[in-house]
Symmetry: C2
Subunit: 209 residues, 2 copies
């Protein structure tokens, strides 16, 4: 995953962060950080660790809207976090750097020649996130649980370039990601195994068609 400070020297990163008035905060695991991010026009960089945006349904269902790992970014400018039902939880110990969005084009910063690199990195990050969203939408629009599972496996397989790969998340998380009932998904995977489409050993998936 792209990094906002890629190809910028340590010295210049420090300078950049100072010019941007960047604010770095450390969080413990399983902490709700949304209270900290409920303000306008900022971006938040996940320096290390990971966070999950979870939608809490009125009848107790939880849906993972998205999961962001080290190097990724979010912000209410970007995520449009409006509903109170959405919480942002750290999955592990996590460090986050906050930057006011308007600072990104402030007078001082544009004098530096690393600015172009920074902007390129930022645009790359945004387009990567768009790609991530598009991929998920493509899965979510599949008509059946079976099609969602198969499409997900196909994607993973293509990403890894092999028909054998390890699931990067738990089945419980996958069910959330695909927005289907976990037990129904488990049942469907059983059928797929029985019908010889896939093999499953723990997190190891083998596509057989």
């Amino acid at each position: 995953m792209a990094n906002l400070f890629e190809n910028i020297s340590e010295k210049n990163i420090l300078k950049l962060k100072r010019i941007l008035s960047a604010n770095t905060v450390k969080y413990k695991k399983n902490v709700n950080i949304l209270s900290n991010v409920n303000q306008d026009n900022f971006i938040a960089l996940v320096d290390s660790g990971s966070v999950q945006f979870i939608f809490n349904d009125y009848d107790g269902n939880k849906t993972i809207i998205e999961e962001l790992n080290s190097g990724e970014m979010f912000g209410n400018l970007i995520s449009n976090i409006t509903s109170e039902e959405i919480t942002c939880i750290t999955k592990e110990d996590t460090q986050i750097t906050y930057i006011e969005f308007d600072e990104i084009t402030n007078d001082e910063i544009i004098k530096n020649d690393f600015y172009i690199i920074f902007i390129k990195n930022l645009i790359k990050l945004l387009t990567d996130q768009l790609t991530t969203r598009n991929n998920r939408i493509e899965l979510l629009t599949k008509r059946s649980t079976r099609d969602k599972i198969l499409a997900y496996f196909k994607n993973e397989s293509q990403k890894k370039g092999t028909k054998k790969f390890n699931m990067p998340m738990t089945f419980t998380e996958l069910a959330n990601y695909l927005s289907v009932d976990r037990s129904a998904m488990s049942r469907e995977i059983k059928y797929l195994k029985e019908e010889g489409f896939i093999e499953v050993n723990g997190k190891r998936i083998t596509i057989k068609y």
Copy 2:
């Protein structure tokens, strides 16, 4: 919707387009333009008209991945259009401007003082698109057709700031957008009417709760 050339004078827009080697193409209605966009690292601006990205399922189902209107942008850097099953169709007569992505930071362009405005516009466009995607994901992850419909209506209502509003698309398109069977959605809307949650007169929706 934001525009890539907002707050830039006509004169400078022309200059910008020249420096970017922008290439403008006009299309008739219902034309498949994907063949033109199947190359690396470009962005495409919808100057006028609109296009739809449609996923053609192996068993004949069509799903609208996204619809882009005047002022919006796409590109394989952004949309990650890889599958051959996806086509991009003009919904009406449409004009599109293509820009090579690498040109965005070329040597000549960064000398101009309208460059910062351009970059701000670009980032705004990207974050707007991310917001659009996030909104759709939030709808798609709803467990039931009923919840999807209600969430969609609630969103539209909030956007317009009133409990009475006109649907900006047909019900057929809405079914695609929410990725549910059209007739099943029609049935569910009937139930919602019967139970007094909503009123429907043609495209005019009234939320009654």
